[in-house]
Every structure is written in structure tokens, then in C-alpha cells.
């Protein structure tokens, strides 16, 4: 399991989101859930872009540190 901020380009599954409630809820409403298969399109450094189906979401580095993928 690695934080999103340290994962390279490729396919992953989101294992856990260790943020506050607000952050988790935000991700969920934007269509990103624990257990989802995602792709990293642009890895760190800098903001990370992940893809789930047709959704592209950019996540700041500090937030990405708290999202764990496998």
C-alpha cells in the first residue's frame, strides 16, 4: 500500500482515505470511493491527476499523501 503521492503512473485500487470527514465526503461525491479502480495519469511531484472512467480529478500533493492505493 502506498500513498497516492508516491505512486507512479499506472493502475491502482483505492484502499483507504485517511482524511477528515469533509475530504472523504468530497471525494465520494466526486465519484471516488474506497475500492475503486483508478489510474494515475500524472504522478507527483506537484498535483496528481487520477482517472476513473471518464472522470479526471486533480488532487493536491498534501491531500494525495492521505489517500492510500495498492
Amino acid at each position: 500500500m502506498v500513498p497516492l503521492s508516491f505512486a507512479g503512473i499506472g493502475e491502482y485500487t483505492i484502499k483507504s482515505v485517511r482524511g477528515g470527514r469533509g475530504m472523504r465526503r468530497r471525494l465520494i461525491s466526486m465519484g471516488i470511493n474506497e475500492g475503486d479502480k483508478i489510474r494515475i495519469i500524472k504522478p507527483a511531484p506537484g498535483p496528481i491527476i487520477i482517472a476513473k472512467n471518464n472522470i479526471r480529478i486533480g488532487i493536491g500533493f498534501r491531500m494525495a499523501k492521505r489517500i492510500f492505493v495498492i
Binding site: R24, R25, S29, N33, N54, G60, M63
Partner: protein, 666 residues
């Protein structure tokens, strides 16, 4: 919808789903649309007439769910929940149907009248999504209208569907009725039932379980949070996880089932690398990102000059011609001398000298609209994220700053998308340092005379200087007033698209027509007042020694001597520029007899050094009355006054320092 003519129809949906486009189609209006999340930050109302029946349509900011984080989202959420719209049109992005249905299920729980406008059907088809609309309609038991809103497709069907709406609530929508926490939800329903204001108990109970704490006050009269907390704990023990996560999972479980049932993916979309992704590899690249952004900015100014100036030159000639001919014509019909002067020196020389720059401004807005519609706007926020962190903000604050290059007023409104209130205030406070399109005529007038050979570079330097000042001050304000951690950035990136010519021209026209409107109202008034004060007392030489305006100017002028422009005309220009910055140009035009003359008159007063110093002053001091007004509205009178004071002091200091230090070298 039948007899009543006061139907309230709300348009809601995820950000960037095309709500404003649908709104424009329904109402025939031209609200700004764009390809990035957060274009609409306030509710916009319009009328939609069909078969003689009037309906009020309300366009709302985008939301992902009924849990609102920022001001724009709260505006949308509160309207849906509190204002009891007669019909809710949910604009759904067919490409991201699954995610969009999350909001749809929450709205359906309200048991209100709902129609789905299933937008972007063409894009969905092109990526191999086959949506079985009938099935979806039957399962959700609501009308679904497939649309391609940006090409006007499906709008007639949507209009019909709205008018035919029979006003019958859809069947109770409940995705939890067979779930193992059904009884626990019931328990909460019973507990809160006596206190709910006009909401279905199930809806209210679910909102509470979804931890929508700031929502409680909207739905329940009494603070019964403690009792609810106990039930929640019991449920969490039973299911072994947090209740809000459980509900979200269940919701997505339901949606996923629905999606599988109604949508066929003919291509494995999760593996697809789109053209957008490839473009992003370059545009958001760690090393190239910022240079590319700066290049776009530079290209903007180059085009503003290279394309705009020749056209502006033609207009200039026309105004010069008009000035001469109107004088002759008015004299020929025997008009009194003061009328001739009013037309020639006041209106044509004054307003004309501002209007001359319309082509430049239109081209700038054209380029901005292109960038907005292409989807680059959201990327700019990302590219600048790291940079923005240096001032303790994050990339999202950068969008209002870029919008400030157009006009600070909507830019300050756009801060509503920021989740954190302190971030928002800082972004508002530094926004006036972004050179808006009203400063552009000042830069153009002065650089056109004093910096002819490198006009683009000089104007670019002023824009950049404003940005740097904003960064420094942002950092300062943060340490002085708001010591808080930056909120993490999360933002959806819409796919790039080829900007639509219509949208781009419409967007550019919407904004630049305000410039013309201003020319006919505020600028006109300002210029006429300056003319009158220049003409009086009767008999004095126009705008010469002894005119009223010269006394006013001379009273202030000594203050500006250390900054290099201690002549009274400059003081008059700055004084009236407080109302709107274009008047600075208008004032020079009126006082010196039109743009034709400025070229040889101004060098008698300014040197290149003092001219640049004057531009710095114009950039920084008192933004304009409208901007201060919107700061008061968005942040309160205290911060509005703060901006007035700091901007004037800062402008004065910077301008003097620049001139004095520059003098040492020249």
C-alpha cells in the same frame, strides 16, 4: 406545468454538466458559460415562455451532492432544499452518468418533481456508451430528455416535457427500504418527525446519517443531535463501519447496479488514454507547466497589440475626423460655442479616447474566452498550485486571480468556490492587483506614446508586477491576519475541447459590451463633468490656467511631485479614475484635446520614467467603486475599507520608490 404562471423551475447538476447552456437555451439569455467547474457562482433567474405560459427559471451553481462545502454550493443546495421549486431539472452529464446519479438519488429522496436533462449524449456515444434511456426512465420513474445542449439538440423536447409536467410527485424513492439499516433509519425518522420542516422524513434522516451537520438547521427545528448520536453509535456497532461511509457505499451500490442495467460500455473506458490526457502530460508538466502558462499570457498581449492596434488606429482616425467635422457642422448651424466645445473637447475627445481601445479589449476577451472554453482554466489552477502554496493559498485561488485580468468584480464573486473562508478573504484582498481590462487603456495609451518599440513587453511587465505584488501581499496578509493551514486542493479537470466559435464570441462580446456600456454611462458622465469644470468659469481658456479643474488639480498635484507627475492634469485624471479607471484616459483626452494630440502633448509632461511610474500608480491605487462595492458585499465593509487604504498607500509608496530609484540610474 399548466395554469400557474409563477412556476419556479430550478436547474441543478454537477459542475460543468452544462446547466448554464440549458438555461440559456430555455430563456434565450446569454449567461456566461465555460469549460471549468465554477463558472456560475450565483443564482441567475430568467423567464421561459411557452404557449403563453411564463415560467421562472433559476440557474444554480454546480454541486456534486447535497452536502455543500463552499458558498456557491450552499447557494445551490439551499435553493433546492428551502425554496421549494415546483420542478427540478437535473442536468446530467451522460459521460459521467454514474457519478452524476449520486446527486440525482439524493434529489429524488426529496420527493419533488424532477426531470433529467441527459446532456452530452454525443460525447457519450463517441466514447462507446450506449444508454438505455427507457429503462433508466422506468426504474427511476422520471422523465429523461436526451440532449446535446451546446448544439441546441433536445431543447424542444425539454421545453415540452417541462410544460407537460403533470405536477404529480414521482413514487416515493427509497433505496434503503430493503437494507439492513432500514429500521434504524425509521427510528431516526420517528425521533425527528415532529420537528421536520416540510421534508420527507426519510430524506431528513438520511441527511443526518450522512453527517451533513451544517444542514441540520435547515431541516429540523430543534437541536436533537444528542439523541440521534446514540442511534448512530448503535448502528455503527452493528455494521462495523462509519455510517456515512456505509450510506455512501450503499448509494453507489444502488447506482452501480442501475448503471450496469441501463448502460453498455462498448469500449473499456477505464483503460482509455484520451487526447485530453496526452495534452495534459505537456500542459501540466512539472517543468513546462509554468512557462507554458506565461507563454499563453504573453501571446495574449502580443495579439492584443499586433491585431488590436491597427484596428484601433482606424477608429482613432474616425474619432479625429468626427471631432473636426462635428465642430464645423455645429458651427455651421449656429450652435453656441459651448455646445461645440462640449461635443468636440468633451464627448468626442474624452469618450472617444477610451473607446479607441475597444478592439484591444475585445481581442483580449476573445483569447480569455477561448482559454476558458478549451478547459485550460482548471489546468492553470493546477499548474500554479505549488506557487500558490508559497502564499499559503492553493491553486483554486488562482482562477479568481486570472479572471481579475478581465474585471475584478466577477473575479471577486468567483472566490465563492473556495471552501475556506480565510483563503477566500485573502484572495479577495489581493484581487484588485490583477490588471483588469479598465487599466488596459491606460497602459495602451501611455506605452503607445513612450514605449512604442517594446509595447508588449512593457505592458506584460505591469501585469506581472501586479501578480508579484499580489503574491507578496497575500503572504503578508496571511501572516498578519490569518494563520491557518492551507486547505488541500481537489478539483475536477474537464476534458479539453475545441472551443466553440459561438461560445467564444458570445463570451467575449458579453464582457466587452460592458465596456461600451460603461463608455456611454459612467465614463461619459465623468468626462462631461471634467469638461464642465474645464470650461468654467466662462471666458477662461479651455482647460487652461484659471479653469475650475486646474484649481482642483493643482490642489492635489504637489502630492505627486515625488512620483514624477506633479502636473495638475495627472492629478485630475487619477482623481476621477477612482470612479472607473478608464476615466483616467478619458480625462487626458478631454484636457488635452483628444488622442490625436496626446502623442505630442504628453511628452511635454511625462518622461518615460515618470510615465511608467504613473502606470504603476494607476495599477495599484483604489481599484474602482464597483470593485470596492463587491468586496463589501462579499467580505464586509471592514475589508472593503482596508482595500481602499492599503491600495492607495501602496500605490503611492511604489510609485515614488520607482521614480526616485529610477532617477538615480538615469
Amino acid at each position: 406545468m399548466t395554469e400557474s404562471s409563477n412556476n419556479k423551475i430550478a436547474i441543478v447538476g454537477n459542475p460543468n454538466a452544462g446547466k448554464s447552456t440549458v438555461f440559456n437555451l430555455l430563456t434565450g439569455s446569454n449567461q456566461v458559460v465555460g469549460n471549468w467547474p465554477g463558472v456560475t457562482v450565483e443564482r441567475k433567474e430568467g423567464k421561459f415562455v411557452y404557449g403563453g405560459i411564463k415560467n421562472n427559471i433559476i440557474d444554480l451553481p454546480g454541486i456534486y451532492s447535497l452536502s455543500a462545502n463552499s458558498i456557491d454550493e450552499k447557494i445551490a443546495r439551499n435553493f433546492i432544499v428551502k425554496d421549494n421549486p415546483d420542478l427540478i431539472v437535473v442536468v446530467v452529464d451522460a459521460v459521467n452518468l454514474e457519478r452524476n446519479l449520486y446527486l440525482v438519488t439524493q434529489i429524488l429522496e426529496l420527493n419533488r418533481n424532477v426531470i433529467i436533462a441527459l446532456n452530452m449524449m454525443d460525447s457519450a456515444e463517441s466514447i462507446g456508451l450506449e444508454i438505455d434511456q427507457n429503462k433508466l426512465e422506468n426504474i427511476l420513474n422520471i422523465r429523461i430528455i436526451p440532449m446535446v445542449a451546446n448544439r441546441g439538440k433536445g431543447i424542444e423536447e425539454l421545453k415540452k416535457a417541462i410544460m407537460e409536467y403533470n405536477g404529480k410527485f414521482h413514487d416515493e424513492f427509497d433505496i434503503f427500504k430493503n437494507d439492513r439499516i432500514n429500521n434504524d433509519i425509521k427510528e431516526i425518522e420517528n425521533l425527528i418527525n415532529p420537528y421536520i420542516k416540510n421534508f420527507p422524513p426519510r430524506f431528513a434522516a438520511l441527511r443526518i446519517l450522512e453527517e451533513d451537520t451544517d444542514f441540520l438547521g435547515l431541516i429540523i427545528d430543534k437541536d436533537i443531535f444528542k439523541d440521534i448520536e446514540q442511534i448512530k453509535l448503535d448502528v455503527e456497532n452493528k455494521i462495523g463501519e462509519e455510517i456515512d461511509t456505509y450510506i455512501a457505499e450503499h448509494r453507489y451500490g444502488y447506482i452501480h447496479g442501475l448503471y450496469e442495467e441501463c448502460v453498455e460500455e462498448t469500449i473499456d473506458i477505464n483503460k482509455r488514454i484520451t487526447l485530453s490526457d496526452k495534452i495534459d502530460k505537456v500542459l501540466i508538466n512539472r517543468i513546462l507547466g509554468i512557462p507554458i502558462f506565461l507563454f499563453f499570457l504573453w501571446l495574449t498581449f502580443e495579439s492584443v497589440f499586433k491585431i488590436g492596434n491597427p484596428i484601433a488606429g482606424v477608429i482613432d482616425t474616425v474619432f479625429g475626423f468626427l471631432g473636426d467635422k462635428s465642430g464645423i457642422l455645429l458651427a455651421a448651424i449656429g450652435s453656441p460655442e459651448w455646445i461645440i466645445s462640449l461635443f468636440k473637447d468633451g464627448i468626442i475627445a474624452g469618450v472617444g479616447s477610451v473607446l479607441v481601445f475597444f478592439p484591444n479589449i475585445f481581442i483580449m476577451f476573445l483569447i480569455f474566452a477561448t482559454l476558458e472554453d478549451s478547459g485550460y482554466m482548471a489546468r492553470a489552477a493546477f499548474v500554479m498550485d505549488k506557487f500558490m502554496h508559497k502564499i499559503g493559498l492553493h491553486g483554486k485561488s488562482f482562477i479568481p486571480l486570472i479572471l481579475g485580468f478581465g474585471c475584478n468584480v466577477p473575479a471577486i464573486m468567483a472566490t465563492r468556490t473556495l471552501e475556506n473562508d480565510k483563503d477566500r478573504i485573502i484572495t479577495i484582498l489581493i484581487n484588485p492587483l490583477m490588471s483588469c481590462s479598465a487599466r488596459l487603456p491606460i497602459y495602451l495609451m501611455i506605452t503607445g506614446i513612450f514605449f512604442k518599440s517594446n509595447q508588449g513587453a512593457i505592458v506584460f511587465s505591469l501585469y506581472l508586477f501586479g501578480v508579484i505584488l499580489a503574491v507578496v501581499l497575500g503572504r503578508l496578509f496571511k501572516t498578519l491576519f490569518f494563520r491557518h493551514k492551507a486547505v488541500p486542493l481537489i478539483m475536477e479537470l474537464p476534458p479539453y475541447r475545441l472551443p466553440s466559435l459561438r461560445t467564444v464570441f458570445q463570451g467575449a462580446w458579453n464582457r466587452s459590451k460592458l465596456f461600451i456600456k460603461k463608455a456611454g454611462t459612467i465614463i461619459f458622465t465623468g468626462v462631461v463633468i471634467i469638461w464642465l469644470l474645464s470650461y468654467l468659469p466662462v471666458g477662461v481658456s479651455y482647460a487652461g490656467e484659471g479653469s475650475l479643474i486646474s484649481y482642483i488639480g493643482k490642489f492635489i498635484a504637489p502630492i505627486f511631485t515625488p512620483a514624477g507627475y506633479g502636473f495638475w492634469q495627472a492629478s485630475v485624471a487619477l482623481l476621477f479614475g477612482v470612479v472607473a479607471k478608464e476615466i483616467v484616459v478619458g480625462a487626458f483626452g478631454t484636457l488635452f484635446g483628444g488622442t490625436d494630440n496626446l502623442g505630442h502633448i504628453l511628452p511635454q509632461y511625462f518622461t518615460a520614467l515618470s510615465a511608467y511610474s504613473f502606470m504603476l500608480m494607476s495599477l495599484i491605487y483604489f481599484p474602482c467603486i464597483a470593485t470596492i462595492g463587491v468586496i463589501k458585499q462579499e467580505a464586509g465593509i471592514k475589508w472593503a475599507l482596508f482595500v481602499v487604504v492599503y491600495s492607495i498607500l501602496l500605490a503611492y509608496i511604489v510609485s515614488i520608490l520607482f521614480y526616485q530609484i529610477g532617477n538615480l540610474f538615469i
